[in-house]
Amino acid sequence: MPAAHASTADPSTAAEAAEALRAAVVAGQRVRIAGHGTKLGWGAPIPLPDVELRTTSLARVVAHNAGDFTAIVEPGVPFARLQAELSGEGQMVALDPPGAEATIGGIVATGDSGPLRHRYLAPRDLVIGMQLALPDGSVARAGGKVIKNVAGYDLAKLFTGSYGTLGAIVQIALRLHPRPRRTATAIGTGDDPARLAAAAAAVASRPLEADSFDVGWDARGGAILVRLSGDTAADRVARTLPLLAGAGLETSIDEDDGALWARQREGQRSHDGVVVRVSAAPAQLEHVLRTARDAGATLVGRAGLGLSWLRLDGLADATAVARVQELREALAPAPVVVLDAPAAVRDAVDPWGPADPVHLALLRSVKARFDPTGACAPGLFVGGI
């Protein structure tokens, strides 16, 4: 296998990571930061970097403060291992993006999430502090290790979802939640986007405190899924069914719902096809479903949040490119971001889509202050940042 890049850096401390970045800056080299590399295909295509900074040796669970529902971890910790460790105390990081191989650092750096986002929000909302290695060679902390804290600027939010273009995340403080004791899912199926959207609207307006609330669509039709947890989960699921039935959906209950939700998560990925993430206003669901149907796409999404992942499989590259552009036109102004896609498709469409110039100028200003020489994955981010 040919060398993918000129060299690798494998720091095992924050200071080493900062020094690796600084050395690259001094040498005029481009750096890409990688965990297990499960999402390296995301973002705009860029030339192979001179240096790959790997988080493989930054893989310690530094602290699990069970009594405080917090954990401090290094970015290279495999997410599955982290969850397994925390579950010993009946706790979890309330994130469930797909991909068994992902590291917590990669999940945070890309802001990835899964169905639990309905109740627990996104990585940005669960990260309470960070230690950062910056291109100027410094190591800086922001936030802290307590859930509530407004001291200093929230750089942790800035770096969450920054795709490694501002510097390296070398430590992450996370808020944890109790692991749900039992779960059950109310299911409503139908093939009419209007009915599915009506059911979603009915569920969304009720204080059900669902853990997850999803929509799915494929060639066979669609479904609304409402997952509840707690001592009274089964009872509350039964009481949710009338909301789904009232909108004209066929209803059922799944009390052993692990496989069902694993499928929802996997729907956010494609090995060889194209996945786009649509961020619409929640009440646009019917329009998003119709658009997915007309495009021949499968869809999984967070029905209450307006977030949907549309998957286009088995298309020729040129057709896929045209389809992505059609989706953008049909769904505008909702941002449509390309995630998984063959190289030829990523070369042909800007995966981030159009950006407002005033907004972009502010993003560029942020980049210029943290990474003034453009050492960190230049060109990968929005607007060529």
């Binding site: 009594g67 950062l132 509530k148 600027y153 609207a201 009274t232 993003l363 942020v366 929005v382």
Partner: protein
């Protein structure tokens, strides 16, 4: 355009004022109208402090714009005159974050108090910054509500909440302002208007909304805010339980939370604050107990009931002296009145008091309480304690008498030692009141020089001139400097003969 004296006896700009100042004031008057520019010293006095009265500074002028366009023009005028400016909402902040700058302009957002869009289908509300926090919940209630609920919610503005990332009693379960803001329109240091986010949750790019919320008015001013609202819980169950000591109450909090129950709110008051609140809110709570714990569960009815039984069992197990369950909305309201009265009520038992705001990891509660007792004894000043117990946010109330020589200084010193104790326990110097001017001297207790430099990078990205709310947050003034161009390796470096530091 000429300026008109406000009260007839003094000119808009004092005769001695320099010509540039006079020119700026005339320009502000042209933008927002004469009646919305305040320059008279008597009227300026209203604006010299925010909720923290220890600090006072009159600005050169106050401008009250009525639209985003006017805010933009006002800020642009300040920028072109190289005059610092400070944004202010309701002025209820408790860290001096809206303290004016000498010779600067104070931009008051109180005229921008309209709710622009109540969009229940999308569960969003779009509003101007001067809208009060409670007005949002009122606009969408009773079916929906806006969860972050600072105790000052009747008066505090959503713009101020955005600046401070305000929390409240219910944020342990529901989160803070930052978890609810999904769109902003912001006026930057030079008057540029930028739109960030919207009703949709994910917009490509750095999370600049996340960076802006809680930046204490130093990155710009929000002129339009889009927040999420959520369905009101089906059921609410509230109780107050009394314990012999705060430590016992703290153990109850631990057992509740680690048992997997996430209360809507869990608040603790100690003996001193119970006695003070009794005088003001009149609930007649027992005054021979060490602590009162207000626990509120909300959510689905059946789940709520199951968990409420669990909470009562935990209270009993820890020798609760008494447990009172709110049997009606009025009884619940009284329990909350007791809690929310804690700050003002302290004024009834002490001539003066200083409200501290610190955070500790919740599991450190017993040892930090011991430490506070120790410090209070050493300084000979009573300290009342009120906490958002779920998230370890303490509000020690340091009582003192300003008329006693040196006591105010000792109270401040004691409050400072309490904050240091919080940081040493792994916590934070502020959980919700912000750094402002009041806490900036403690920033270096919590953050290193490298951390502060990183903060400064963000600040410079938004405002390279440093004229947006200067003198707040950072412990020492800092300049931005130019952004360096692309780095070029010096030939000596390439040859390994020199190194850059």
């Amino acid at each position: 355009m000429t300026s008109h004296p406000q009260l007839g006896d003094e000119p808009a700009a004092p005769p001695g004022a320099e010509a540039p100042t006079r020119a700026l004031i005339e320009r502000l008057q042209a933008i927002v109208g004469n009646e919305h520019v305040i320059v008279h010293p008597h009227q300026l006095k209203v604006y010299e402090s925010d909720g923290l009265l220890q600090y006072a500074q009159r600005p050169r002028a106050v401008a009250l714009p009525g639209s985003t366009a006017e805010v933009s023009e006002v800020v642009r005028a300040c920028h072109e005159h190289e005059v610092p400016w400070v944004a202010r909402g309701s002025g209820s902040g408790l860290s001096g974050g809206a303290l004016p700058v000498e010779d600067g302009v104070l931009v008051s957002l109180t005229r921008m108090n309209r709710i622009l869009d109540v969009d229940l289908a999308n569960q969003r509300v779009v509003c101007q910054p001067g809208v009060t926090n409670i007005a949002i919940s009122e606009a969408v209630g009773p079916e929906f509500f806006y969860p972050p609920d600072p105790s000052s919610q009747i008066v505090c503005s959503i713009g101020g909440n955005v600046a401070e990332n305000s929390g409240g009693a219910h944020c342990f379960k529901y989160g803070f302002t930052t978890n609810y803001v999904c769109g902003l329109q912001v006026v930057l240091h030079d008057g540029t208007v930028v739109r960030l986010g919207g009703k949709e949750l994910e917009h490509p790019g750095y999370d600049v909304i996340g960076a802006f919320v809680g930046s204490e008015g130093t990155l710009g001013v929000a002129t339009e805010i889009t927040v999420r609202v959520i369905p009101s819980p089906e059921a609410v169950r509230t109780l107050v339980a009394f314990f012999p000591t705060p430590r016992a109450a703290g153990e109850v909090v631990s057992d509740i939370v680690t048992g997997g129950v996430v209360p809507g709110a869990i608040e603790m008051m100690d003996n001193l604050t119970i006695r003070a609140s009794n005088q003001m809110a009149g609930a007649g709570w027992p005054e021979d107990v060490g602590a009162a714990l207000v626990v509120e569960l909300d959510g689905a009815e059946s789940e709520c009931d199951t968990q409420f039984e669990r909470v009562q069992a935990i209270c009993s197990r820890h020798d609760a002296v008494d447990i009172q369950v709110a049997g009606s909305p009025d009884e619940r309201a009284l329990m909350w009145k007791m809690r929310k009265a804690a700050f003002p009520a302290m004024g009834r038992i002490s001539p003066h008091y200083y409200v501290q705001d610190g955070v500790i990891p919740r599991s450190k509660l017993p040892e930090v309480l011991d430490r506070i007792d120790e410090l209070a004894a050493r300084y000979g000043l009573p300290v009342g304690n009120v906490f958002h117990a779920g998230d370890g946010n303490l509000h020690p109330l340091v009582c003192y008498d300003e008329r006693v020589e040196g006591e105010a200084e000792r109270a401040e010193e004691l409050a400072g030692e309490i904050i240091v104790a919080c940081v040493e326990a792994g916590g934070s110097i502020t959980g919700e009141h912000g750094v402002g001017v009041d806490k900036k001297r403690y920033m270096s207790k919590m953050f290193s020089e490298a951390d502060l430099e990183a903060f400064q990078k963000l600040r410079c990205a938004f405002d390279p001139t440093g004229r947006t709310n200067p003198g707040k947050v950072m412990p020492t003034p800092r300049l931005c400097g130019e952004v360096p161009g692309p780095y070029r390796e010096h030939p000596l470096e390439r040859a390994g003969l020199a190194e850059r530091f």
